[in-house]
Structures are given as structure tokens and as C-alpha cells.
Point group: C2
Chain length 320, copies 2
């Protein structure tokens, strides 16, 4: 018995760490990869040369495969792609990228390409364009999101494509991993839980905020301008709501709403401004309880998953 995600990515456990701008650097990515998962450097709007340094640093810190997450909608994108073609990280995950050309170029360099999608039609198109696997991300995820939840998106994408599906969104423990497999996934991606990895270099105030957040902690902002983003509810989220009202009333532009977020993710994650920064987080933040080494997170998730699966036959009583 084999797992196609492990085989494809040459990893020990089918757990990917989601790429998170200003959060997941080479240090976290290498820790996850060393623990048998797939660590991911979040390129975000990183200058191309800094991205090159991060990739090289990851290579120093681990001999295992790792990924770089690219987001197309940023001015450095083309230069970042150039760096990837030169540095050839083993895997690239693509957020908001629907360019056939980029997928082909990366694949020509032997790079595995995994698009992150939030809708069935886009998953199908990504497969046609050569995606090696699909990361299907439900709306409970943190950061930029779609509208369909993991519970519904996972089975729909799994039946729409032949390549392996990796479920993301709302997954922070072993039970969720098993649920994702039940729904058709062959791997999972977790972002929020890895923010509370010891090796994650975000400000301590962020980890403390994450540990203390409950089920009503997150909120979606910027939905009105067509770019929904899930963050922890704070002063900035309140300001978004006010500016979105103005936007809908025709009193400001979508750009003005967008600009509210300028520099705010860095401010939250690096400087620990949890009140006025952009604290991107998934709903699963309510399930994150403590800070642990990345290896302990992966070990715990796998052990929990095995335990949940083993106890299922005795709990799944469907008839009297």
C-alpha cells in the first residue's frame, strides 16, 4: 500500500505545510521537511533575490524536498519565477495562478507543480495544464479564500480530477486528516497549526493570540471587493468593515479598501501588532492549543489519525 502524495513529493508523511507570506520562511519549511512533511517557503511579495537566499538556506537546513509557494498577484512575480527556474526547488505550490505557461516552464525544470484551488472548474483546468496534484482549499482556510467549504470541495474536486488531491482549510489535527481522506483526499495541507510551531519565526504575540482564539475568532474581510481574506477579528478587521461600507456606497474605490492591508501582514506577523496588523488565520485556529516543535506536530497528527481510524469501527454504529 502506497500513498500517491508521498510518492509524488518524495516525503515520509502526506502532510504539507501551507505557504504563508511573512510567516513560513526557510527555517520553518526545513523543520517541517526534516520531520517528514513538506515544508513550504511562502514567497508572497518577497524580492526575487531574497527568495533565492531563502531557497539556498532551506537547502542548507534540510536534504529533504521542500516547496515554494508563489502568488501570482504581486509585482515581483515574474522575477520570482525566474529565480525558481534557476534554483529549481523540488516543488512549487501556486496560489491564484492560472497561467499554463508558468506551469509548463516550471515542469520543464523538473519541478513538481501543485496549484491551490477553491473551485471544481479551476481544478479541472489546472489538471489539464499539467498540475501534478491539486491542493483543494476550503473557505475555512486563512488568508485569501474561496467560498466552498472543505467538507464539500474535497469530494467534488476528488471526483473531478485523476491526480491526487490534497485537502486544505480547517485541518489542524489527526481527526481532520482522517476526515479529509474519507472525503477523497490523499494528503492534507495545514497552515494555521504550523504558525504555532516552535520553529516558526513569527512574533510570540501571534502565537499567543492563536493559542487563545476560539470558534468565533476569525472574520472574512474584503469580500465586497471580490478578494475575501480570513483573519483574526481585530481593530484592522473593523476598519475594513467601515471602508467596505464606504466602497459599497460609492464613497471610495476598491483600491482604497485593498490599500488598508498594505504592510499590515508584516506588521502583525513580524512585529507582533495583533491589534492593528493583518492576522491571517484559518478557522482551525480554534483547535490550536499550544506551541510545539514541527516534528511534534507532525508526529501528533499522524498518531491521532491512526488512533481515530482504529477506533472508527467501534464508533460508527449506523443501525440498531
Amino acid at each position: 500500500m502506497t500513498n500517491r502524495v508521498c510518492d509524488l513529493l518524495d516525503i515520509e508523511h502526506p502532510i504539507l505545510q501551507g505557504g504563508m507570506s511573512w510567516v513560513s520562511d526557510a527555517f520553518l519549511a526545513a523543520a517541517v521537511s526534516n520531520a517528514g512533511g513538506l515544508g513550504t517557503i511562502g514567497a508572497g511579495a518577497m524580492p526575487a533575490e531574497l527568495l533565492r537566499e531563502e531557497i539556498r538556506k532551506a537547502r542548507e537546513l534540510t536534504t529533504r524536498p521542500f516547496a515554494v509557494n508563489l502568488i501570482m498577484i504581486n509585482p515581483e512575480f515574474e522575477k520570482q519565477v525566474q529565480v525558481l527556474l534557476e534554483e529549481k526547488p523540488p516543488v512549487v505550490t501556486l496560489g491564484a495562478v492560472q497561467s499554463t505557461a508558468v506551469i509548463r516552464l516550471l515542469k520543464e525544470q523538473g519541478i513538481k507543480v501543485l496549484p491551490v484551488v477553491a473551485a471544481v472548474a479551476i481544478a479541472r483546468r489546472a489538471e489539464e495544464h499539467g498540475a501534478d496534484a491539486i491542493i483543494a482549499e476550503g473557505s475555512e482556510a486563512g488568508g485569501h479564500i474561496g467560498e466552498t467549504t472543505t467538507m464539500v470541495l474535497t469530494p467534488l474536486v476528488s471526483r473531478a480530477v485523476e491526480v491526487p488531491v490534497i485537502a486544505a482549510g480547517g485541518i489542524a489535527n489527526g481527526a481532520a486528516l482522517v476526515a479529509a481522506f474519507v472525503l477523497g483526499a490523499e494528503g492534507v495541507q495545514m497552515g494555521t497549526r504550523f504558525v504555532c510551531a516552535e520553529e516558526c519565526t513569527v512574533h510570540e504575540a501571534v502565537k499567543e493570540k492563536f493559542r487563545k482564539s476560539g470558534d468565533r475568532a476569525t472574520v472574512v474581510t474584503a469580500r465586497s471587493i471580490g478578494y475575501p481574506v480570513r483573519t483574526i477579528r481585530n481593530k484592522l478587521a473593523g476598519e475594513y468593515a467601515e471602508w467596505e461600507k464606504k466602497y459599497l456606497a460609492g464613497e471610495c474605490t476598491a483600491m482604497e479598501v485593498e490599500n488598508l492591508g498594505l504592510g499590515k501582514l508584516r506588521e502583525a506577523m513580524r512585529e507582533g501588532n495583533v491589534k492593528s496588523g493583518s492576522l491571517m488565520a484559518g478557522q482551525s485556529v480554534a483547535l490550536v492549543e499550544r506551541v510545539q516543535p514541527a516534528a511534534a506536530i507532525i508526529g501528533e497528527v499522524i498518531a491521532e489519525a491512526e488512533q481515530v481510524a482504529a477506533s472508527l469501527p467501534s464508533r460508527l454504529v449506523l443501525s440498531r
Copy 2:
């Protein structure tokens, strides 16, 4: 091995049919109960005496237990409660009801009371107030919804209360049922799938619309006025968006937005006006493919669940 939901409700399979105003009448409820699930009459804004007739009709059509779903926010509510105290249906599910007094009164008549909740704190309070089980409804559900998805809400509520948890939202097949159990539920509630039961008396155009809907079919309206409702995207949903803009711009009242929906659910469900009516549906509408008798739906979901669970050990390969 027993199932607490089956034992509590005296039913064969731990599948509840969600109460749906203008959709689930005595005829559908009895069909589901006769098939071994728990059918539910959706009382909605039904006049109290009509509700009494529906309960009596259900009793003629089945000897098995069934439920009535009450929604507190309607003018008939107190009279409806009076009818329930007199007619004593075996089970009452409570949407948007947080009244200790009502729960106590119903329980004094031997009625099992199951609140439908969308947040952990409300689940805890409902248990304190004597709830026999909790229906935890994720944001992918149809109609009036909360913000937390089934993937995250189910484990959080399951660990917060001692009584059994029934997962709702996004559940339309056997795989989703197993996923819900993996996440801590001991039963599931399905609404959307039962709209396409043969015994469901909605207009045929509604069933056709449901069968043809995909993953982007639903949309949430009225979020801006604090009462989010999930429906299938149509002309009415577009009008909501326009009026919500006006509301946010201070150009109309919340009441004016709410009034857009007046009579629209009936118009969609009974008259088949799928363009301008309120087509409440969950995201799982994308998983509903055909019209079947209620007994076939329950039989298929149970068989699928058993199959998915049986194949899990061979698919859940977590290490190389």
C-alpha cells in the same frame, strides 16, 4: 455497540432530515421516519392550527418517531409551542431558540429537545438548559446559517458537550457521514439531499434546479444585516446584493432588506419560481444528483458509509 442518537430518538439509523419551512411537511417527514431516519416537519411560520394538522397527519402516516422544527423568530411561535405541548410530537428541533423556558416546558411533556447551534458557547448553554442532543450546523448549510464550517464546528462542539452531537451542513452522502463521525458526531442531519426525495412535495422545478447545481451555485445573502441566509444564486439573490449596498450606504433600513424575502421561500418551493424565489439550499446541493425515494436515500447513504469505512484502512496510508 450502540449509537446514542439512535437510542435517544428511538430510530434505526442516525440520520435526521433537517426541518425546512415550505419544504418538509408531514408527508416527507413520515417517509423519512418510515425509512428508519428521523423525519422533521418544518414549522416555519406555519399557523398553529395547520401545524397541529401536520403533526396529526404524520401520526397517520407513520408509527415511528418524527420531529417538528421550530424557529423562534416568527409571530406564531408562542401558539406553535402551545400546540406542541398539546400534541406532544416525540422530538422538537429548535432553530434560533435560546429560551430555557421553552426547552423546560417541552421536556416536561416528554418531548426530546435538540437545539440547532452554530457556535460552541451556544452549544454549551443549550446543554445546561437541558438539551438532549446538539445539532451543530456548519456554515455550508442552507437557509439561516452561522460562520463556522462543519469541519471545524463538529470537533469543537463534540468536545464542549457531553450529550451526543449531530453534524449538519455539507452532508449529503455516506462519505460525509463517516467524516462527521470521525470529527466526533454520532449522527448527521441532511436537508438539501432530502429536498430531492420523491416524497418531498416541493415544485418539480426546484428538484431540477438542485440536481443541476454545481459547486459555485450557492451564495450567502443578508450577511450585512446580521442574518446570513444561503440560497441558490438567482435574480432574487442579485436583488439582495443591491439592497444590501443601499443598506450599508444608509439608504434603506435592515427591515427593507429583510422584507425582500417576504413570501419568496413559498414562491420558490411551492410555485417553482426558481428565478425570483428564495431557493434556500446548502453547498452540498452540488453533491445531489437525482430524485430518489427517501428510503433509497437513507439506504444509499448507509451503504456508502459502510463501504467508505471499510476501504479506509487501505487508503489511509500515512507513512512510507
